[in-house]
């Protein structure tokens, strides 16, 4: 699959000397949903700001649709729609006026039919004549998405699109994003909600302290780094583990009522068979057992904690 965005050796140092991005290399594939994860201050918004033309890079190059964002900024920017993290809106404008303004700003001729479609897709049609100041936070967020889509971009940046949005609305937005992807739009999503990336993304990039730590297909990432947890519900409570089980790194929980064992699915041996055998030998019985797969959130926390 060809790249629609290509970031090469990108660095950003602010006037204060703070290095927000350190030699970032990243390729976004045409038509994918790419989730960029990272803790606060990791450099997610700085990276997006540079690609969209809001901040200047210190070093490196960015190509959008094969066009350099600095030398061919008109062509590059016309491909991009941006929904920033903060709710920046013209409070006293109507929904229709502000979305139409955005289309004009990107040099597109008037197309009331397209604006109508965008507003209907985002359930904003009945609010088209309302002033933005009268809308709820979730609706304002959708207005910002409508503005970003007004000029029919090929790439959509969603910087924390569901921050502060209730669960129902969040799921509604996920639907919108999926529909956009089906129409051929490439979507780059930054989020704090790991479940959002897990739910939506084709690929995941993790950025920490200005460096890309990992870029991976979501499925293979989950498989490669995923750990499983075996939980045994014991028949009787244990005060302490016998010496014969010490090499398993077991954890005794719930006042000795459950035994937890973490194992690596990619390892040659999981150690489960020998553990169960050793438990029987130690005369430790259990009523029930269950296994759980570690989530993307666990993977993320592991990665950003690594020094």
């Amino acid at each position: 699959m060809s790249s629609i965005i290509s970031v090469a050796n990108l660095s950003k140092t602010y006037g204060s000397g703070f290095k927000a991005l350190k030699n970032v290399n990243l390729d976004i594939r045409r038509g994918e949903i790419f989730a960029l994860l990272g803790p606060n201050g990791a450099g997610k918004t700085t990276l997006i700001s540079i690609i969209c033309g809001i901040a200047n890079p210190s070093e490196g190059q960015v190509l959008v649709g094969g066009e350099n964002i600095q030398n061919s900024y008109r062509k590059a920017r016309s491909l991009i729609g941006l929904v920033p993290q903060e709710l920046h809106t013209d409070a006293f404008e109507s929904v229709w006026a502000t979305v139409s303004f955005s289309r004009g700003l990107f040099g597109k001729p008037k197309n009331p039919g397209h604006i109508e479609k965008v507003l209907k897709d985002l359930s904003l049609w009945d609010k088209k004549d309302n002033k933005i100041i009268t809308l709820s936070g979730g609706m304002k967020r959708r207005v910002m998405i409508a503005k970003a889509l007004s000029h029919e971009p090929q790439i959509l940046f969603l910087d924390e699109p569901t921050a502060g949005v209730d669960v129902e609305l969040r799921k509604g937005m996920w639907e919108v994003v999926r529909t956009l992807q089906q129409s051929g739009v490439t979507i780059i999503l930054t989020t704090h909600y790991i479940e959002e990336a897990e739910e939506m993304a084709d690929r995941i990039g993790i950025i920490n302290k200005g460096e890309i730590v990992l870029i991976e297909d979501k499925a293979s990432l989950m498989q490669k780094l995923g750990k499983k947890r075996l939980t045994l519900h014991l028949q009787g409570k244990l005060d302490a583990l016998p010496e014969s089980l010490s090499h398993y790194e077991l954890e005794l929980c719930d006042n000795g009522a459950t035994l937890v064992y973490d194992y690596d699915t990619k390892g040659e041996r999981t150690g489960i068979t020998s553990l169960l055998s050793d438990l029987r030998n130690a005369n430790i019985r259990f009523n029930d057992l269950d296994t759980t797969q570690s989530s993307l959130e666990d993977i993320f926390v592991d990665l950003v904690r690594t020094p």
Binding site: A55, L82, H88, G104, L105, F106
Partner: protein, 253 residues
């Protein structure tokens, strides 16, 4: 050229004017009318003619300039400062639009508003005093030149300001005093020689003098000097704006 983007910014800014009609147009017209009542009718009736023109008539160009200067600065500075304040500037910066086009949109709208205002005040003045404009083309040219130049200056203030206090500081503490001391209500020839020399350091003197010449063919300094000084200020503003966009000063990190 992204003419649709220029049009979008221009119309957006003009729409703000119509939305805030009372504040944008009516308020300056009322203030100027009060100047006519106070200076023209009440005080002016006790002042003899100035260089062959009645006092009420003499102050008309100065009053128009007073409003055009302050409104050009206010319109343009607020126009660019407000998106910075609300954060909507992100959209302007991320759009496929050149710096020149951004300035054209904002400054064009600000200048248009002050020109309209200047003409409304001129018409209002006609209700109070008899008016005859000797050089209407020069009058319009001067009006446009001044409106554009000071809208550019206002644009610079709007970029520079990082709070509403700073936004008001230059217009209130610098521009208004310079306008009042720039011969709006008197000819600088009426000043003692020392103060006349000091007054010539005030750039607003040249604007008002040139503008008044287009009305009555009377001026404190020659017309060519007035035009030259205004153009010089225009060029300085353009250079500063070029530098702002080149460096991203207070716009881009």
């Amino acid at each position: 050229m992204n003419h649709r983007a220029v049009r979008a910014i221009y119309l957006f800014e003009m729409a703000r004017t119509w939305r805030t009609l009372l504040q944008s147009i009516v308020s300056p017209v009322v203030s100027t009318s009060l100047y006519f009542v106070v200076f023209g009718a009440a005080i002016g009736s006790r002042i003899s003619q100035v260089e062959g023109v009645s006092y009420g008539t003499f102050i008309v160009p100065g009053l128009i300039m007073l409003s055009v200067l302050t409104q050009s600065i206010a319109n343009a500075s607020f126009g660019i400062y407000f998106p910075k304040f609300t954060g909507t500037i992100y959209e302007i910066l991320s759009a496929p639009i050149s710096y020149f086009e951004i300035v054209l949109g904002y400054v064009g709208a600000a200048a248009t508003k002050s020109i309209i205002l200047g003409l409304i005040i001129l018409a209002t003045a006609g209700l109070f005093v008899p008016l005859h404009i000797h050089h209407p083309v020069w009058m319009l040219a001067f009006l446009v030149l001044t409106a554009v130049t000071f809208s550019l200056f206002g644009f610079i203030i709007g970029i520079w300001a990082d709070g509403f206090e700073k936004l008001q500081m230059i217009p209130m503490l610098v521009v208004t005093p310079l306008t009042f001391l720039g011969g709006s209500f008197y000819s600088i020839d009426m000043l003692p020689p020392t103060w006349r020399t000091v007054a010539l350091l005030n750039p607003v003197v040249y604007l008002i003098s040139g503008f008044r010449w287009s009305f009555y063919e009377i001026a404190d300094v020659s017309m060519s000097v007035s035009v030259g000084m205004t153009l010089a200020f225009l060029v300085i503003c353009l250079v500063v704006i070029w530098w702002i966009f080149r460096t991203g000063y207070r716009l881009k990190n």
